[in-house]
Each structure stands twice: as structure tokens, then as C-alpha cells.
């Protein structure tokens, strides 16, 4: 096993454990903090895949903005209300588990038909600027300019909608 594989296994285990804690933690703020840990693990997985830009954006957007807003909203509620005391499972737990296993199995089966599944990635040539390539791909007409613009318009619409909802009519 190479050092990279060992790191990946550790990070993967920590990420999955944190994700499990998100749904089992009794305290809502703790759940949000475990979510931060899980998101951080995903960022490390991105770095292992040589996607440094995605890793940093993951931390900025998901931890710096989304998770903080979660915690913000939870903190506004009363402390006792944020604690869950009821049973953690209902009668349908086996159905949920079955669906999760089926989805995982389906994804694995689907990926096995892909030729790149069992190949090791070729080494990145030295001097390869991933950020530059990503920027060019996102803005060139031959690349992904249309999906990029559509996503931008969608976000703008969400922004306008938020302003409209919060706007205080006189």
C-alpha cells in the first residue's frame, strides 16, 4: 500500500464516521459540527485527487458559508429545543437500510461497466496548471460555458427571490 492509499483510507473512514454522527447526534449543534468534519474530509479527498481548487472552494463554500449558516439558525432556537430526546429509529428503519444498500450496490455495478474504474490515473505532467485549465474550460464556447451560465442565472434568480421575500413593502 502506498502512503496515499493509507491516507485515503484514514480520511474516508473519518469522513464516513462523521457523516454517521451527523444523523445520530442528539444535539443539533453537534450534528452541524460533525457535518463540518465530514465536509472537511471530502475536501481532503479532493486534494488527494489533485483537485486543489475544488478542495479550497469546498471549505470556503460549504464550511465557511453553509455550515456556519446552519449553526447560526440552530443557535437561534432555544437550547432545550435543539436537543432530541425521542427514539432514533422508527418501524421503517429496515426499508431505509435496504434502499441505501441497493443504491450503493447499483452505483458500484454501474461504475464497474466504466473502463476507467479499475485503471490507475496517469500522472499529471509537471507544469500543469489545473486552475488555469478549469477557468478556460468554464469560459470557452467549446467547453462548459453554457452550463456555467445557466447555473449562474439560476443562482441569480435565487438571489432575486431571496431579496423579494425579505423585502419589506411599505
Amino acid at each position: 500500500m502506498t502512503a496515499e492509499q493509507i491516507i485515503f483510507l484514514i480520511v474516508g473512514a473519518v469522513t464516513l464516521a462523521s457523516a454517521l454522527m451527523v444523523v445520530t447526534a442528539r444535539d443539533l449543534v453537534h450534528a452541524a459540527l460533525w457535518l463540518v468534519a465530514a465536509l472537511f474530509g471530502v475536501a481532503i479527498v479532493y486534494t488527494l485527487l489533485n483537485a486543489g481548487f475544488l478542495a479550497v472552494v469546498q471549505v470556503v463554500v460549504y464550511i465557511g458559508a453553509i455550515a456556519i449558516l446552519f449553526i447560526f439558525a440552530v443557535m437561534l432556537t432555544r437550547r432545550q429545543a435543539a436537543k432530541d430526546t425521542g427514539p432514533a429509529l422508527n418501524q421503517n428503519w429496515w426499508l431505509g437500510a435496504l434502499l441505501a444498500v441497493l443504491t450503493f450496490g447499483g452505483l458500484v455495478a454501474l461504475l464497474q461497466t466504466w473502463s476507467g474504474f479499475s485503471k490507475t490515473a496517469s500522472a499529471i505532467p509537471s507544469g500543469f496548471d489545473a486552475v488555469n485549465e478549469l477557468g478556460t474550460a468554464l469560459t470557452s464556447p467549446a467547453g462548459y460555458v453554457l452550463p456555467f451560465e445557466v447555473a449562474s442565472v439560476l443562482l441569480l434568480a435565487a438571489l432575486v427571490g431571496a431579496v423579494y421575500l425579505a423585502f419589506n413593502k411599505k
Binding site: V29, F53, V56, V57, I63, G64, I68, M75, V131, N132
Partner: protein
């Protein structure tokens, strides 16, 4: 390869050789050497941090027409060490009903979010922790961990004041992150890279001369991000006692305090790096790496001094004023400036250097002037509205 050209690599190679000579695995030796390098950097930073306490106290004393610490050692230089001993022997208290793990984790995260910033700071042309090509985004990402530490400390203390303080601080931080990120895009446009070292290398002319407005907005956003006066509502001694760190005692409080000072110093350094050429000073940085480090330290100190100057001169502003200032003035100006600079950069691409600099400078002055005029006319209208209403009211009575 001699020591004076690339000291880090020579030292690392030598140490790796020693460890391998002791019969260590080559990879393990490499990891150990990198670890030792990080440890040395952190120790140097913490020693600087101790001296920053002294500098801060001396400077604030001068601003307030006092002498400051002057009893222990020459110029009171031993005072900060006495402070540390005091902090260490204080009782370590945990409030009733506190969330212990989160409570103890928060000061560590706060310190970590500052120290991690130095991973991307180039101390000299060849002395960089990691030369990330996303260096500027990394700074913002580290800042979001700092925000998290404040919210954790404020919430877990089980104290109303600390929660309110944390709320305010987070509100400040997530709002001022926006103009700060926009202002980081401007050196990125000039340098064509987000890497910190590439930005320094392309500053044959300081970026301050290309875009002084960006430097000013960056400084304002940095002061807000640090939670220093006039944006220190999270501490607000007169209303919140001490804000998010109210329940912390001893060295845990010391971690927050030291983290804040080092953060201010670090942002002074980033100001120098982004707009004043970092370690570069008329080719002096190529003579020896010692000069380069000294130049960077001097620039960081100047930035830090400006932050202190603002802190001890300005009054605290109210939270709604702070938010309005950010969202209605700073953010729009920052976005307009980014657009104008990008457009001018595209227009002046092939132009000679003098034309490029003059054009950029003029564009900046125009943006600053127009935005100030807009604010002034809006202010005048608002004043007329309020005063007009008062006149009408007075007529009714």
C-alpha cells in the same frame, strides 16, 4: 547549490541525509524533516506573537499619552513573559452547563486558523511553505475556520453575552468576506495567478499604485474580519463585557488573545504582500534571504501599525450601521472596481507600462470619486427628508 541561495532546501537535504545516515527510511526521514520545518516556523511565529503583546501595549500607550509597560527589563520587554506566566498559573475554569469538548476545541481552532495562513506566505523568493496556485482562496478558507472557532466558543460557553458576541462577530465576518474576496481578485487580475509567490514576483510596480482603492477596501475588510475597532462589536466591553470569549480564563483566553494579535500581524503582512510587493524592495531581496525576510517583516509591521492606529483612533460603530456600510457601500464599490479593473486590463493589455499604470490609477480615482459622490447625494437626500419631516412636525405643534 549553496546555502545562501536556497537555505531551506540545503538544510532539508542535509537533515534528510543525517536521518537516513541513522538508518531511517527515506520517506519517513522526509516526513520528519517537513514536520520539523513546520515546528520551527510555528515556534518563530509564537515568539513574534509574544513580542506583539509588548508592541501592542506600547503603541496603545503612546496613542493614549501614556508610557506603557516600563518596569520589567529594558523598555518593559520582559512584561509579556510575565503575562504568560500569569496566564499559565491562573485557574482554568469551565462554566456550568458548558459543552466541554466544543468549549476546549474553540481556542485551539482559533489559533490554528491563524497559524495555517503562514503555510502560503513566501518569506523570501525561495522560502515558501507551499506555493499553492489557489493561495488567495486558501486565505479565505482559513478565515472561515476562524469564524467557526468563534461561533463554537460563543455557543459552548452557555452564556448569553458570549452567544450575542459570537452572533455579531460572525455577522461581521461573513459580510466583510465578500468585499475582501473581491479585492483579492484585483491582484489576481494584475498577476494572472492566485499563487501568492506569483503575485509578489509580478509586482515590478507595486499593485498599490495600480489600484489604491483596492488596497484601502482590503484594509477595511481586513480590520472587520479581525473584529478590531471600529468593528469590535463582538467584544463591545460596555455592553457585552467581553463578547464571545467572556467565559474563558487563563491560557485558553490567552489563545484567543494571541490568535487575534497574530491575525492582525498576518493581515498586515498580506496587505504588504498583495499591494506592496511582499519581500521585494528594489532588488535587495536577491542579495540574501535574510534581507527578504526582514523586508517582509517590516512591511507586515507597518500594516499592523496601521491596523492599531485605526483601532485606537476610531469609535465603535453600531451593528446596523456596520451592515449597511458593508452591503450598501463597500460591496457594490468592490464589485464595480473589479469590473472596471478587469475591463481596463483587457483594454490596456498591450500598452506600455506608464500608460497602463496611469490608466489604472485614473480608473481607480474615478471609481472612488463617483462612489463618494453617490453616497454624498444619498446622504443629503436622507438628511433633507428627515429635517423636512421635523420642520413639518414643528409646524403642527
Amino acid at each position: 547549490m549553496n546555502f545562501w541561495n536556497d537555505p531551506l532546501k540545503v538544510a532539508a537535504d542535509w537533515l534528510t541525509g543525517v536521518f537516513v545516515g541513522w538508518g531511517m527510511n527515506e520517506i519517513a526521514a522526509h516526513v520528519l524533516v517537513v514536520f520539523l520545518g513546520i515546528l520551527v516556523l510555528i515556534i518563530v511565529l509564537m515568539v513574534i506573537d509574544i513580542l506583539l503583546v509588548w508592541i501592542e501595549r506600547k503603541v496603545v500607550a503612546r496613542f493614549q499619552d501614556r508610557i506603557g509597560p516600563n518596569r520589567l527589563g529594558p523598555f518593559g520587554l520582559i512584561q509579556p513573559f510575565a503575562d504568560i506566566v500569569k496566564l499559565l498559573i491562573k485557574e482554568d475554569t469551565t462554566p456550568n452547563g458548558a459543552d466541554k469538548v466544543v468549549y476546549n476545541l474553540a481556542p485551539m481552532l482559533s489559533m490554528m486558523s491563524v497559524l495555517i495562513l503562514w503555510a502560503v506566505v513566501p518569506l523570501a523568493p525561495v522560502m515558501t511553505g507551499v506555493d499553492l496556485n489557489t493561495g488567495l482562496l486558501f486565505i479565505i478558507a482559513a478565515g472561515s475556520i476562524g469564524t467557526l472557532s468563534i461561533i463554537m466558543g460563543g455557543w459552548s460557553s452557555n452564556n448569553k453575552f458570549s452567544v450575542i458576541g459570537a452572533f455579531r462577530q460572525v455577522a461581521v465576518m461573513i459580510s466583510f468576506e465578500v468585499p475582501m474576496l473581491a479585492m483579492m481578485l484585483i491582484p489576481t487580475i494584475f498577476a494572472g495567478s492566485m499563487g501568492v509567490n506569483a503575485i509578489i514576483q509580478s509586482q515590478d510596480i507595486w499593485f498599490f499604485w495600480l489600484s489604491p482603492l483596492a488596497a484601502v477596501i482590503f484594509m477595511i475588510a481586513a480590520i472587520a474580519e479581525l473584529g478590531r475597532s471600529p468593528f469590535d462589536l463582538s467584544e463591545g466591553e460596555s455592553e457585552l463585557v467581553s463578547g464571545f470569549n467572556i467565559e474563558y480564563s487563563g491560557m485558553k483566553f490567552g489563545m484567543f488573545y494571541a490568535g487575534e494579535l497574530l491575525h492582525a500581524f498576518t493581515f498586515g503582512g498580506f496587505w504588504g504582500i498583495l499591494f506592496f510587493g511582499g519581500y521585494r524592495f528594489f532588488g535587495l531581496e536577491n542579495v540574501s534571504f535574510i534581507f527578504a525576510i526582514l523586508i517582509l517583516l517590516v512591511k507586515a509591521m507597518i500594516g499592523y501599525w496601521i491596523i492599531m492606529w485605526v483601532k485606537y483612533t476610531m469609535m465603535r460603530i453600531r451593528i446596523d450601521h456596520m451592515l449597511a456600510f458593508n452591503w450598501k457601500f463597500l460591496t457594490p464599490v468592490a464589485f464595480v472596481l473589479v469590473m472596471v479593473v478587469a475591463l481596463m486590463n483587457a483594454l490596456l493589455k498591450g500598452a506600455p507600462a506608464w500608460l497602463y499604470v496611469t490608466g489604472m490609477l485614473l480608473a481607480n480615482i474615478v471609481v472612488a470619486w463617483v462612489s463618494l459622490e453617490v453616497v454624498r447625494s444619498a446622504g443629503r437626500k436622507e438628511r433633507e427628508r428627515v429635517e423636512g419631516a421635523q420642520v413639518v412636525e414643528a409646524a403642527h405643534h
